[in-house]
Symmetry: C2
Subunit: 184 residues, 2 copies
DNA sequence: TATTGTTATACTCTATAACTATA
DNA sequence: TATAGTTATAGAGTATAACAATA
């Protein structure tokens, strides 16, 4: 039998263990996300992002600005505007200009929003438990939480190359992005 | 009243450590996926799914049926057809009916497909290393790989409730259901 | 009748750029 | 000038159901 068609040995390849960790993480997270979103859609007619927005509001004092919400939930501002608009249309949040800073918009969860979260959350937790947590020992959980927090914080701290928080006015040319034959 | 707006104590809540493990995993995986897809799109004009299809082909003997590819890569068959169609249009794979089973379609990676993977992979690995692996010790990596493989296998083995692999054949036909495709 | 795969269709989500308004 | 947010637009991806063809 012939070996794989691709040879990694030129470019400082990844050891099999690391590659497997990456692939397993990717696949498990993707499966979990899929199950969770399926549940949320079926149970509460919520997208994953909408659920996270509501959760973030409900876990605090029920209010946050768009910018505060954008941190960590979504990768573009317009995406958040879109999702917040849907939530508002559904009556689960309200939006009003901030009084401290007229530019900002304060998003506030409504009673109905709290009710939806309360209704959906038990099933959500159940899915997470059955899919993920039940397969992990207490020590696994501690270890996983610590590792993933580390990785997350690292990525948050060091934004990916060539990705300004907002389109920078003086966009530096991306290294090596010369006119490559981009397939075709 | 300063506490969170939502009370979990009714429904056997999640211990904070478990909740944090879940959230950190979700967020880290989401950030990683976003970076990886950004890189793939920029470097090779590939979607994440397309990359995975090519990787799976290139890691084996270069050929697989649609059904074999569908396992683990995508959540609906039509989605795979769509992505495979794009790859074929780009000249990175070919599709031809199987000779053993005329129903099946054999997808084969082309030389150009191998070339694209070879060109993209070093940068891909670099992203994964910088974003994820460099933050983990060797022991972390072993532990993570083992945990995530366990979780992944569990989800694969036990499909989510109310999700038949395919639309269940025992579906009672509704008499008035036939008729032209909804036009509009 | 079950399985493999495609197609038609409709929809959700996302991202970029241009824009407004306030600090 | 920089920041907060919206809008317009356009494209990518997905899922469901109906369909055709082979086993």
């Amino acid at each position: 039998m012939t070996g794989p068609l691709i040879d990694l040995s030129g470019a400082e390849p990844l050891e099999p263990e690391r590659l497997q960790a990456y692939f397993a993480l990717t696949e498990a997270a993707s499966l979990l996300q899929h199950r969770v979103e399926r549940h949320l859609r079926g149970e509460g007619d919520l997208s994953g992002v909408q659920f996270q927005i509501l959760m973030r509001l409900a876990s605090g004092d029920g209010r946050a600005t768009m910018t505060e919400l954008a941190d960590g939930l979504v990768h573009s501002r317009s995406g958040l505007t879109y999702q917040a608009g849907l939530l508002e249309k559904a009556g689960l949040v309200t939006r009003a200009p901030s009084e401290q800073d007229e530019r900002a918009v304060v998003v506030t969860i409504t009673d109905e929003g709290v009710a939806v979260i309360s209704r959906v959350l038990p099933g959500h937790i159940d899915v997470v438990r059955r899919s993920l947590l039940d397969q992990l020992s207490d020590d696994d959980v501690r270890r996983l939480a610590e590792m993933m927090a580390r990785v997350r914080d690292h990525m948050r701290a060091e934004p990916p190359r060539s990705a300004a928080a907002r389109r920078s006015p003086s966009r530096a040319p991306v290294s090596g992005e010369a006119g490559g034959p981009a397939q075709a």
